[in-house]
């Protein structure tokens, strides 16, 4: 059903909060996972049971501190303990779909809510910018919504959007039970929302398309088209760097093995990564042998091996959220590398991560008669 969340006096955020509050009040969900804003700009993903707490909910903020898919997986595990609502950005939702396939989460008893995403900024840069220039929250939000309406980036002078967002070609959620639309729409006249009929009935909402509803598709296409150009350039640049002298080793020369990229990645769920085990606690003689063999050996080694292994282990499920780049203290474009490589490998299997739960992971499924000549060469 296509309907509208009514907005009074242009108070869009209040309208969203009211809508979320209703979800709890009618007990459509018993707990709601949403970002809460404390101290102006600090966004804390939280699990809320008291509707009163939603007065500080803010899913319309241009930052994404974590990819919340992992948090939702912690809330669902193998069996969701209560009826849960989860408000996620499109890339977080795609990551969650992948986690379900990896048996790290379930969608049973989970109501998925998502909003069109005009893009996010680096968390630290954003909070610094906000406090230094005392930007009013009203301006930040109104520009964010205007940007969504006009299929452009917000005009936050002095801030650059995260690369992953500037090259994102999936800013609209596909698997949500409730989808709030912002692109091409004047939200001061109401927020268009697409939701399942049974949910709408529960909330007492009726079919009522927003007057701008027909603009949505065109606005989305304009945004995707602009982002695609950025994407192609970024991927071209990173591919050039990968195949030039230095290659991948050169790109990761400044890697300090903090493993932030792995920690921030929603897909890297292994409680104990191989690289944190004793397998990589090499003996002194191992290092000496390596140093003798190559003339010198990087301490502590296995940096390239770590990234190449991570590429092989999770590249097929990479949804391009860019949390890895945001988390890297050396500002290495990890996400761009993983997006580029991930895309290339996904193409071999015609696989689209996060698109559909029923689309099997390429490495756990097989046909008996596929690639039949591979390995049979004489």
């Amino acid at each position: 059903m296509n309907t509208v969340i009514p907005v009074e006096n242009g108070e869009v955020l209040a309208a969203v909060r009211g809508f979320l509050r209703r979800l709890l009040e009618v007990q459509l969900v018993e707990a709601l996972f949403v970002p809460l804003e404390v101290n102006e700009g600090a966004i804390l993903p939280a699990l809320v049971t008291d509707p009163a707490r939603l007065s500080v909910a803010n899913p319309l903020t241009p930052v994404m501190p974590i990819n919340a898919a992992r948090a939702v997986s912690a809330l669902t595990g193998k069996q969701t303990p209560a009826r849960l609502g989860a408000l996620l950005r499109p890339c977080e939702l795609r990551a969650l779909i992948e986690l379900v396939k990896l048996r790290q989460a379930t969608l049973e008893n989970v109501l998925l809510i998502s909003i069109d995403c005009p893009g996010t900024y680096e968390y630290f840069e954003y909070t610094t910018w906000q406090h230094e220039d005392h930007k009013s929250p009203g301006f930040i939000l109104s520009d964010y919504l205007a940007a969504a309406q006009e299929s452009r980036e917000p005009t936050y002078t002095g801030l650059t959007q995260r690369t992953a967002c500037r090259m994102c070609v999936q800013p609209v959620p596909e698997q949500a039970d409730i989808h709030l639309q912002l692109f091409g729409v004047d939200t001061s006249r109401g927020i268009p929302v697409r939701l399942r009929d049974d949910i709408a009935n529960n909330l007492g909402m009726m079919e009522n398309p927003h007057p701008d509803a027909t603009e949505h598709q065109a606005a989305v296409e304009r945004l995707i088209s602009a982002h695609r150009q950025v994407r192609e350039k970024e991927l071209q640049d990173i591919r050039a760097r990968l195949t030039s002298d230095g290659g991948l080793a050169g790109l990761f020369a400044t890697c300090i093995r903090c493993h932030n990229c792995m920690t921030a990645c929603p897909i890297c769920y292994c409680k104990t990564c191989l690289f944190r085990t004793a397998s990589f606690d090499h003996s002194p003689v191992y290092y000496l042998d390596a140093a003798r063999r190559k003339g010198a050996t990087r301490m502590l080694g296995d940096t390239l091996l770590f990234h190449m292994t991570r590429l092989n282990h999770m590249g097929l499920s990479c949804v391009g959220c860019g949390m890895c780049t945001s988390a890297c203290p050396s500002h290495i474009p990890v996400g761009t590398v993983f997006s580029a490589v991930g895309e290339q490998v996904q193409t071999v299997f015609e696989y689209h991560p996060g698109r559909d739960v029923s689309e099997s992971l390429p490495l756990v499924t097989f046909q008996e008669n596929e690639w039949a000549t591979l390995g049979e060469e004489r």
């Binding site: 591919r239 990968l242 195949t243 290659g247 991948l248 080793a249 050169g250 020369a253 191989l274 390596a290 140093a291 063999r293 190559k294 003339g295 010198a296 050996t297 990087r298 080694g301 940096t303 390239l304 091996l305 190449m308 292994t309 590429l311 092989n312 282990h313 590249g315 097929l316 590398v337 580029a340 490589v341 290339q344 490998v345 071999v348 299997f349 390429p362 490495l363 756990v364 097989f366 046909q367 008996e368 596929e370 690639w371 039949a372 591979l374 390995g375 049979e376 060469e377 004489r378």
Partner: protein, 143 residues
């Protein structure tokens, strides 16, 4: 591309216990002659090969890595080698994407009775790797 044929390429091979390893053993007992460039690691199934096992030798400087398993349909564990096949394709594409020479990794289905095929495979692989030249990673200590 190197014209240096004076070096001896090193191949690390991951062979499945039931088929390829036994086939390699047959090559030995049949006294078939093949180049000594291969270092064999025995696994119970080619499906047990994790990409990290293949990446480590390549990064350390081995010229090539061979994965040997049962022919599809003959896996001792029914479906292991089907997964090997897919994993190999993913690994090969990843290597291509990051600028590594993907021709350095080979997948060959060799059964327990195919001693000749094993000897031929190693011979072919050594010749092919000589054409590709020494692995540039041999001197790369930054990795």
């Amino acid at each position: 591309m190197s014209d240096n044929h004076d070096f001896e390429p090193l191949i690390v091979a991951f062979l499945c216990n039931w088929c390829t390893y036994t086939g390699a053993d047959l090559a030995g007992t049949s006294r078939l002659q093949y180049p000594p460039n291969v270092r064999i690691v025995r696994l119970m199934c080619s499906g047990a090969v994790d990409p990290v096992y293949v990446l480590k030798p390549l990064i350390e400087g081995a010229e090539g890595v061979l994965i040997g398993g049962c022919h599809p349909g003959d896996c001792h564990y029914q479906t292991g080698n089907y997964k090997t096949r897919r994993r190999f394709l993913a690994l090969r594409e990843t290597l291509k994407a990051i600028g590594f020479d993907e021709r350095r990794i080979w997948l060959r289905w060799i059964s327990a009775s195919e001693g000749q095929r094993f000897a031929e495979t190693v011979t072919q692989m050594v010749a092919a790797l000589k054409e590709l030249g020494p692995n540039p990673m041999r001197a790369n200590w930054v990795a």
